[in-house]
């Protein structure tokens, strides 16, 4: 039987919004990694490193902050898919699981910010 196999679409991630958001979420992982590296540099130096005030570093960190926030929000919003919680037969709605994750994220961020900034 002769069948037609479509050619690979190299721009598949531009074909709909869900694909684009997915790829953006994956690519922003690079900025998440950078944020961790930068945080370790801050901890290692006992404060902001010497180049922290350079305009290019400020620009990178502003972009990294936005990308990390986007990554974290979109990632945590997916949490209800992996964690189905039932309490006495009642399924905990997605917004509660998301809300719990976002709240925990803010608390942990606050603790990290406190630990990092207290020595500044």
């Amino acid at each position: 039987m002769t069948t037609y196999h479509a050619k690979r679409d190299h721009l598949w991630f531009l074909r709909n919004r869900t694909y684009t958001v997915f790829v953006a979420r994956e690519l922003t992982s690079v900025f998440v990694a950078w944020t961790i590296v930068y945080l370790m540099l801050v901890i290692d130096a006992g404060g902001p490193p010497s180049f922290a005030g350079e305009p290019w570093m400020i620009a990178i960190n502003v972009v990294a902050f936005a990308a990390t926030a986007f990554h974290a929000i979109t990632f945590l919003n997916l949490a209800p898919k992996a964690t189905v919680v039932r309490l006495d037969g009642w399924r905990v709605p997605a917004f509660m699981i998301q809300g719990g994750n976002h709240s925990a994220w803010l608390v942990v961020s606050g603790i990290v910010a406190f630990l990092v900034l207290k020595g500044v």
Partner: protein, 253 residues
């Protein structure tokens, strides 16, 4: 039908909408080409009604699958304006004055026009053993096993799958890598994993790079699913199960 209703119907039929239909006739086409058909623009017509109008009145050579016309059989899945849809549940009213572009489901070899080869899915479906497995019981199973509403609720959502394959067509992982087990097969495996009557163990079938770990969680399968099965959820849940089982080998499910 009343005179008024008939008049409205005749006026509506005077308006038309253009269907741009992908044609692939292996004996004459090297690759699909589009052919346009103008069909009556009726408010109560689905895309499938338009295709049937083409088949009955305009071009009998057009090939496509359909059966129930009510979103049960899962036969009439096609790409409509780039989105995988059941054509029996996709109405002209969504598309204004058109045109509407109709293509075969993405990710599958095209046999003819809008008919795709689904053998790959059928092999995968059988591979996950989508049936109740009982230990130490001879077939046919005759004993009755009552379930509580909670036990039914645990898997019911995944049992709604009609094998329409819209989720495969929506999944960029499957379209790029056909070795991926895919959303529906994994969701149906979960349907039995979560059934209190099932005693099977599908861990070795699902805990693989080309099975649940191949899913990158784009989530489009869930958006495309016309029966609200939520295959993305099924896959992510099994990832969690598989991860826990890998750490705690004695745990099940």
């Amino acid at each position: 039908m009343t005179d008024t209703a008939e008049t409205i119907r005749q006026q509506a039929a005077a308006r038309t909408i253009r269907l741009e239909v992908a044609r692939y006739r292996p004996e004459q086409d090297g690759e699909p080409v589009f052919q346009s058909y103008d069909v009556p623009l009726m408010d109560d017509w689905a895309v499938l009604d338009g295709l049937n109008y083409v088949k009955d009145r305009l071009d009998g050579t057009l090939s496509f699958r359909w059966s129930c016309r009510m979103g049960i059989c899962g036969s009439c899945g096609m790409n409509v304006n780039g989105e995988p849809r059941l054509t029996c549940g996709t109405f002209f009213t969504e598309y204004g004055d058109g045109p509407i572009r109709i293509e075969p489901l993405k990710g599958f070899p095209v046999i003819r026009d809008l008919v795709v080869d689904i053998d790959d899915f059928l092999v995968k479906l059988q591979h996950v053993q989508p049936w109740l497995i009982r230990e130490g019981e001879e077939l046919p199973l005759t004993a009755e096993y009552a379930q509580t509403p909670e036990q039914l609720e645990a898997y019911k959502q995944y049992s709604m799958c009609i094998n329409c394959l819209l989720c495969y067509s929506a999944c960029p992982v499957y379209v790029l890598d056909p070795d991926f087990l895919g959303p529906a097969a994994i969701a149906l495996a979960q349907r039995y994993n979560l059934d209190s009557r099932d005693q099977g163990d599908r861990f070795d079938l699902l805990n693989l790079d080309e099975a649940v770990w191949g899913c990158t969680f784009v989530g489009e399968c869930t958006r495309a699913c016309p029966k609200h099965v939520d295959p993305a959820e099924a896959i992510q849940r099994y990832k969690l199960t598989a991860a826990i089982r890998s750490i705690l080998p004695w745990s099940r499910r």
